[in-house]
Subunit: 461 residues, 2 copies
Amino acid sequence: MALRTYECDGLASYRCTPGVVVLAKTTDDVAYVVSRCAERGIPFVARGSGTGLSGGALPREDGVLIVLSRMNRIVDLAVPDERAVVGPGVINAHLTTAVASDGYYYAPDPSSQQICSIGGNIAENSGGAHCLKYGFTAHHVTGLQVVMPGGSVERFGGLAPDPVGYDVVGALVGSEGTLAVVTEATVRLSRSPQAVQTLLAAFDSIEAAGAAVSAIIAAGVLPAAIEMMDALAIEAAEAAVAPDYPAGAGAVLIVELDGPTCEVEANLADVERLCRQARAYEIRVASNDAERAVIWKGRKSAFAAVGRISPDYIVQDGVIPRTALAQVLAAVEEVATAAGVRVANVFHAGDGNLHPLVLFDESKGETERAETVSNRIIDLCLEHGGSITGEHGVGHDKKLHMGKMFNEIDLDVMQLVRCAFDPDGICNPGKIFPTPRLCGERPGRRSGVHPLQEAGVADVF
Amino acid sequence: MALRTYECDGLASYRCTPGVVVLAKTTDDVAYVVSRCAERGIPFVARGSGTGLSGGALPREDGVLIVLSRMNRIVDLAVPDERAVVGPGVINAHLTTAVASDGYYYAPDPSSQQICSIGGNIAENSGGAHCLKYGFTAHHVTGLQVVMPGGSVERFGGLAPDPVGYDVVGALVGSEGTLAVVTEATVRLSRSPQAVQTLLAAFDSIEAAGAAVSAIIAAGVLPAAIEMMDALAIEAAEAAVAPDYPAGAGAVLIVELDGPTCEVEANLADVERLCRQARAYEIRVASNDAERAVIWKGRKSAFAAVGRISPDYIVQDGVIPRTALAQVLAAVEEVATAAGVRVANVFHAGDGNLHPLVLFDESKGETERAETVSNRIIDLCLEHGGSITGEHGVGHDKKLHMGKMFNEIDLDVMQLVRCAFDPDGICNPGKIFPTPRLCGERPGRRSGVHPLQEAGVADVF
C-alpha cells in the first residue's frame, strides 16, 4: 500500500508500482543499494520530491526506487566562496531561506520551488521564471558527489567554476537520472539584488503583449523575468487563487526587474513606457512584497489552477526562438480551434519557453484529440527552430519525440555517453531514449574498424 | 619546410612535425579528411590559430593536422535572437567588431583575442579577464556543427538556451579537440554595457591588494574584471610596453566595472573607497577609451613581456577558491625563494585563476628547477581545494597531473565518454589523459556482468 505513494511523479498519467522502495538517508545507503542492484542487474530509479512533469521518476515494477528526500541536509555553507554543499533532498526554497540573512539566495526557481528538491532540479536541469536572466540549474552547479551505476562513490568538480578535463558535471546535470545518482551537490549562491520591482501589464491581445516583450528586449533591458498568461490562463488563476488581475485582459505580462536600485528604477520607467506604447490598458507596479506575492501567486499556481476550469489537461513544454513567438502562438490557436480544443497559455515569454495547457475531458472521450493538439504544438516548435522541451525534460513522456529532433547518429552518440556511465543499462532505464542500445556494440555507422596504417599518411590524400 | 610552421602551438616547448597538414575551407573538406582518416585509422588533430598554451594542438608525426583558420566566415548574424553563427576560424575579436554597431559584443575575451579563433576557444573553454562576470566560453555557445571522428556531420543544440537530452554541446566545449571537430558554432551575442569604468590601484604588497579584492567582493560588487599583477610582472610589462603603472608598486589591481551608468558610478565610488581602506597609495581611473587601453595593454601583454626580463619562462595556470588567495600566494613565494627561482604573478584575482610565470635560464641549466617549482604550484592549488587548470586546458602539458585530481574510476568514465564519440581513438589522441584506454573493454571496476535477475527483487534487500 505504501508503495502506491510512489507509483508516479508529477505526471500522473503514467503509473507503475515500484518493486521495492528504499528511503535513503546517507550516501552509503545509496551506494549499498546501487551496488546490490549492480551485482544482480536490477534496474533502479532515483526520486526526489516527485514533482517532475515528464515522468522522469516513473518507477519500474522490476526495479528499486531510491527516494532521496530524506537526504535533506545543508552540509556546508561556504558563503565567502559563494557556494553551498547540499544533499539532493534539500528543498529548493529552503536553501534560499538558509542564506537570506547573509544577503544571498539560490537562483534557479522552478514554480514548484516550495516543494521540489535540488537533486530533482539537477536531474532535470530545471529552469524557472528567473532563468531568463540567471540561467538554468546547470549554470549554478559546480560540483557533484554521485553514486555511479556500478556502486562506487565519485566526486566531480568542486568550488572552482571551470571544469578540468571533460565537463562531467555538465553532462550529469540534466541527464534525468540516467547516468548516476547525485548524493551531494556544490551549488552557487547568488547575491540578493539591492532592489526588485514587479510590474503587471494588461493587454487586449497576446499579439500586443508579445510586441511589448520584443520592445523590452530590443531596448536592451534584461528583466529577471517576463511571464505571459493568456485569457484562459487568467480565468483559471482567478478561479483558483483570485489574484485579481485586470478584468477583460486578452493577456497579461508580469515583468520583474532586479539589480542595483538606480538601474531597476531606470528600467522600470522604460518598461512602463514600452508597455504603454504597445497599448497596455492597465499597468500596476507592486508597491511592496505582499503585492508582489499576489502578482506571482496567479502565475505560479497557473498549472494547478487549470484544474478548476477543466477536468483534465496536458501541460506542454516547448521552446522557440523568442522572435517566433507571435507566429507560433497564432499557429497554436489555429490548431486548437480546428480541433475544437481549448489551449491556455502560460509561459516564460522572455526566453521563448512555452507552456501551453491543453484542456480536455476524458469522460467525454476528448483525450486523443487533446494529445494530437499537444503533439502538434511540439511539431510547431520544431518547425520554428525550437526544441521539444524547455525545462520539464524528456523523461518517459517525450522519448518518442526525440527522433524528430535528433537523427540516429546523434541519438547513438548520446546513448554511448550513457554506456560510459552505465554499461549495464540499470540506471533509470527506459527514459529519454526511444529505443535502448546495447553498450557492447560498436557505433552503428561504422562499417568496420581498420588497423592503424603503419605506412606514411601522405599517400592517402 | 611549410610544415614547420605547424610543429607547435603557443606552448613551444613541445614540438612535432605533422605528417600532413590540410588547410580546410569548408565543412565538407573536414568531413572528407576525417572520413579518410577514419577508414585507415589515421590520427588527426584540429588546430585554429595555434595560440593555445597547453599543447592541445600539438601535431603527430603519424597523423593529419587539420587547420581551420581559413573557415573564418561569420555565417549568420541573428541579432534579434542575440546569436551569431560562425566558422571555427573566426577570430574572437572580429565577431565583436561585426556586431558592435548593433550594440552587441562577444563576451569571452582571452588575452589573445586579437588573434585566437573561436573554434580554439571552444576546444579549450577559454576564459578571459571578464569571465568573472560573464562566464567562460561554455556559457556562450548554444549550438555546434561538428564532424564526428567517423566522418559524419552532425548538429547539436541551436538557438535555444536549454539542451534536450544530454548536454552534448556542453560536453564538446572544453573537450580539447578529442571528441569531434567543430565546423560551425552558434554563440550568444551580449549587449554592450551602457558604461565602462576602469580603475588602476597600486599597493605596497600582494597581501594589501588581495585584501582589497576580498573587500570588493564582500561588499557585493561584481566587477567585470579584477586583475592583479605583482612587482615582477609590472617590471616585465614596463620593459615591454611601458604602460606607466605607478612606480614602486608591490602589486597593482585593475578593476573594470560595466553595466548601467548609474550602477557603474555607484560601484566605482565603492571600489575606490575599499581600495583606499586597503591602503592603495595611488588610484587612477581611466577617463577615456585611450587611457583604458593603456591600462589593459600592460596586463594583456604580460605573458609575452616576461620574455624581456628572463630568457625562458613557464606560464602556469591553476585555480584556487578566491578565499585562499593570500595563503597560496605566500606559499608560492616560499617555494620559489627556497628554490632560488623568480615567479611573476599575473592573474584573474576575482575568480582565483592564478597565472604564475616561473622564470629561468635554460642555458644556465635552470630548467629542471623551474619545472619543479611550476609543478609544486599546481600541487599547492590542489591542496587548497583548487584545480590544475583554469582556462589553458590539460592538453599535452598537464596530462600527468590528471591523476592527482581524479582517481582511476573518474578517468575511466571520462575516457568512456571519449569512446562514445571516438571509439578508434583517432581524434587528437595523446591529449588530456595520462594513459589511453581501449574502448572495447568493459569498465575496469566491474568484476563481471550479471544477467537480469528475473525473480522479484524484494529478497535482495
